[in-house]
């Protein structure tokens, strides 16, 4: 494969994530020749499961290593970084000083605030690391539903009192641009697009009130659903496998904003609804709901289990 062919492959990715309207082939060449600067990336994991990390390796057409070698400088990532222990603390502290205002801080997972010792790095509460690293970051990205809205780490009855990255920045009055990319797990296309936009313009694409990129989160799953026609025609499935809209089986599509039905998942291999399952609303601020999958005849009254709705400090 010659250089031009290799670059073409990268360009396919830019097209696939929807960034070709602003990120041209010339931009790719400029990046290759170091005329455009690659952003430094520091990736930290709070109350997380590494699912978003694993999901971000699912970039269609190019390997993850190609992506990180070509588009970004990864200063630290818990699952990729070769060094360990004290060297990690040293790297983070050095980056904070030497790369002031010159790195993107990526936060995977939520941030325990009420029970600060519920997540520790070098015996220091994770929330302290986030504050410190965010203060010196250029911008921050919260990846996944836990980082965005608390997700499964913010269920009824939990003691940890988690906050999202946006909330920590607000509470601490750290004025840095911040974007969130909900979906459990993170959709790799969303991250790649956001980073490409950042490379080109030095800022995030247009965001909504929750700090989600409008490009991906302005429509509900329902609005772009392949069963939308059946919904309009009042054809509803009464059990799994039956033809029709899945609303009466508990589908969360109408209350969940994301573009799963437009771009598909795992390189458009499938999506939850196509796989016969009602949308569980994994990108929603209400995730997880008390009942995610109802049967048609389920007449139980939902008594909304109050999520803690983000701890206030």
């Amino acid at each position: 494969m010659n250089r031009r062919e290799a670059l073409k492959k990268f360009y396919n990715v830019i097209v696939a994530v929807g960034a070709s309207s602003f990120f041209t082939f010339d931009d790719l060449l400029a990046l290759e020749n170091s005329q455009i600067k690659k952003p430094n990336l520091i990736w930290l994991q709070g109350a997380s499961c590494s699912g978003c990390t694993l999901s971000s390796t699912n970039i269609e057409d190019i390997s993850f290593t190609d992506f990180i070698l070509k588009f970004v400088n990864i200063i630290y990532h818990p699952n990729l970084t070769i060094h360990t222990g004290y060297d990690v603390q040293h790297t983070l502290n050095t980056a904070c000083k030497e790369l002031n205002n010159d790195y993107l801080l990526i936060n995977e997972g939520s941030i325990p605030v009420q029970l600060p010792h519920a997540c520790l790095l070098a015996d220091i509460p994770y929330v302290e690391w986030i504050k410190k690293m965010a203060k010196n970051a250029h911008s921050c990205i919260g990846v996944g539903t836990c980082a965005s809205f608390g997700g499964i780490t913010d269920m009824h009855g939990m003691d940890t009192g988690v906050a999202s990255i946006v909330q920590v920045l607000e509470t601490e009055n750290i004025q840095k641009p911040v974007a969130i990319l909900p979906n459990c797990p993170l959709r790799p296309e969303h991250l790649v697009y956001t980073i490409l936009y950042f490379i080109k313009f030095g800022k995030f694409p247009a965001l909504d009130v929750y700090h989600r990129p409008k490009k991906f989160f302005s429509q509900t799953i329902h609005q772009s659903c392949s069963h939308y026609y059946e919904f309009k025609e009042d054809i509803f499935a009464t059990k799994i496998g039956e033809k029709g809209c899945l609303l009466e089986l508990g589908c969360q599509g109408p209350v969940t904003k994301s573009d799963c039905m437009i771009t598909g998942l795992n390189g458009n291999t499938n999506n939850c609804i196509k796989a016969g399952h009602p949308c569980i609303g994994c990108a929603s601020e209400h995730f997880p709901r008390q009942i995610m999958f109802r049967s048609y005849i389920d007449d139980r009254v939902i008594t909304p289990l109050k999520k803690m709705n983000f701890a206030k400090k």
């Binding site: 994991q45 109350a47 997380s48 499961c49 590494s50 699912g51 694993l54 390796t57 269609e60 390997s63 993850f64 290593t65 070698l69 200063i75 990532h77 699952n79 990729l80 970084t81 070769i82 060094h83 360990t84 222990g85 004290y86 060297d87 990690v88 790297t91 050095t94 980056a95 790369l99 029970l115 010792h117 519920a118 520790l120 790095l121 070098a122 499964i152 780490t153 003691d159 940890t160 059990k239 799994i240 496998g241 998942l265 795992n266 390189g267 499938n270 999506n271 939850c272 796989a275 016969g276 399952h277 569980i280 997880p288 709901r289 008390q290 009942i291 995610m292 999958f293 139980r300 289990l305």
Partner: protein
């Protein structure tokens, strides 16, 4: 001169999640070790009040790497409470989802997380061949070195200074495989998504089967993906581990645990019987069936209040200690030190995972393919099961299992009937109890569920593979499995304790699971 040192490594990178370990070293020998899980979320008790079917979706999100296993265990627990089994298609699709994800996980663990414990990454600068991956990597390293950056070659820099592979060919072969592993993982994620809806976090595994209805097309797509992975597993992954084992033969004697093993039956046929891997225990060399009544959990050294010796479902509340108490425990000589609990089997500390599954299934002689492969590998490496209780034994066992699982997937995909439902709906059982047992990538996994009069969750309990392995001391003060593996290890260079990192990574700890 008698040298005493304490080494604390925090965080240990290239594992799932947050782990710190502290060792005391005297005359280069580890005399004491403590493993601290550094995360707590409290998911199992938070499930109380949610619909019983929510457990499947939420518990699989405990972990981004073994999500499929929690999904399966939660579905099994609810099916146990319902008193049902999935139909043939349901069981087959479930095998195809969990099997593909499990292989994904083995490759993720060996290449992304572990291979640079043995392989010299700097060897890439001496590469003179024409492999495009390696040439690309070499060019990148060279340009990084000249870049004048503060962190050149990041994240691939600064291994512990120690002895890595001296075999040039093996170094190049392994680095190339590391790069290819990403593409293989991508294929496996697609295979999972075909029947799981998406990957990670497949949604379709529900009590009653799998919600996807297979088609001729989806079956063919799955087959094509698995064929490509099959070649990687048998021609690259297993040989790669065997080559590394030959060069690092001493690691068949390093990192020895208690040699007490626990595994649950895993991967049944389409009727939910005749599992590919057997369940059971081995204690002091004696095989026996497992007895769930013997499982207890201690919290004496865990950051919780409450009783030791607790049976599953014996409490509906798990109370973490507050921040002030945490700080006071930190300065105590013998204080609490981990968010992980300490599960025990009677008083035995059990190891779970790949070695347990290989040895227990081999012992039962029900899987001829496994026994033949094990015999062949043991002969080639001149080892016995005694050497499986080691760093290399654990890496080797995973590759053996991957070979067996992929053959099963190739067989099962041919049995799937296109256009036949794989899911049947059953009412959620009220006031019922159920247990779901399976094997995750990292070993024996159990879910217990109890429902109330409306079918909401009344109580939930998880005992997870890494909780067994990474547990702190129990109420009697007996160290956990990984702690035991570390104690007695000889450290060549205390500034670069690669031996300890190799031991811990070989157990593939998943901290998010262990603390859940």
């Amino acid at each position: 001169m008698n040298m005493k040192r304490t080494i604390s490594v925090d965080p240990l990178t290239r594992i799932e999640g947050h782990l710190k370990f502290t060792t005391k070293i005297e005359n280069s020998i580890v005399t004491d070790a403590k493993c601290s899980a550094q995360l707590y979320r409290g998911i199992e008790k938070a499930l109380i009040g949610y619909d019983a079917r929510v457990a499947q979706q939420v518990t699989q999100r405990i972990c981004g790497t073994c999500n499929y296993a929690h999904a399966e265990a939660a579905a099994l627990a609810l099916e146990d409470a319902m008193g049902i089994k999935p139909n043939k298609n349901g069981q087959l699709l479930r095998n195809l989802i969990v099997g593909a994800y499990q292989i994904h996980d083995y490759i993720f663990h060996f290449y992304l997380l572990s291979v640079f414990d043995f392989i010299n990454i700097e060897a890439i600068t001496t590469y003179k061949g024409s492999n495009k991956n390696l040439v690309k990597m070499k060019q990148w390293v060279e340009s990084e070195k000249k870049s004048g950056k503060i962190f050149p070659i990041s994240p691939f820099l600064s291994q512990y200074k120690n002895i890595y592979s001296q075999d040039e060919k093996l170094n190049f072969f392994s680095i190339d495989n590391y790069l290819e592993a990403f593409e293989i993982m991508l294929k496996l994620d697609k295979a999972v998504a075909i029947f799981g809806g998406k990957s990670p976090h497949p949604v379709t595994i529900e009590a009653g089967g799998v919600t996807t209805t297979p088609t001729v097309l989806s079956i063919e797509k799955y087959k094509a993906l698995i064929e490509e992975v099959d070649i990687f597993i048998k021609d690259i992954y297993l040989p790669n581990i065997i080559k590394i084992s030959k060069e690092f033969k001493e690691y068949f004697n390093i990192g020895k645990g208690y040699a007490n093993y626990l595994a649950f039956a895993y991967m049944p046929d389409e009727n939910g019987e005749n599992h590919l891997f057997e369940g059971g225990t081995i204690i002091n060399g004696e095989y026996a069936d497992y007895d769930l009544e013997k499982i207890r959990e201690d919290v004496k050294y865990s950051y919780y209040l409450g009783n030791d010796n607790a049976k599953p479902l014996s409490s509906t509340k798990l109370t973490p200690i507050d921040y002030d108490r945490y700080k006071s425990e930190q300065i105590k000589e013998n204080g609490k030190y981990s968010w992980s609990k300490a599960p025990r089997y009677d008083t035995n500390v059990m190891e779970v995972g790949a070695v347990a599954r290989v040895i227990i299934t081999y012992n039962k002689k029900t899987n001829k393919k496994l026994n033949a492969l094990v015999d062949q590998v043991n002969k080639e490496l001149n080892i016995t099961f005694d050497e499986y209780n080691s760093v290399m034994g654990r890496h080797l066992s995973r590759a053996i299992l991957a070979c067996i699982v992929i053959d099963k997937l190739k067989k099962d995909i041919d049995k799937v009937e296109p256009d036949v439902n794989a899911y049947e709906e059953y009412d959620i059982p009220t006031k019922a109890k159920g247990i779901g047992l399976t094997e995750g990538t990292r070993g024996a996994l159990a879910h217990w569920i109890e429902t109330d009069k409306e079918g909401y969750i009344k109580n939930y309990e998880l005992i997870v593979p890494t909780t067994w392995n990474i547990s702190p001391r129990d109420a009697q003060g007996t160290p956990g499995v990984v702690e035991k593996m570390l104690i007695g290890t000889k450290i060549k260079d205390v500034e670069n304790p690669i031996e300890l990192a190799r031991i811990i990574r070989s157990t593939d700890p998943c901290m998010a699971c262990s603390v859940h």
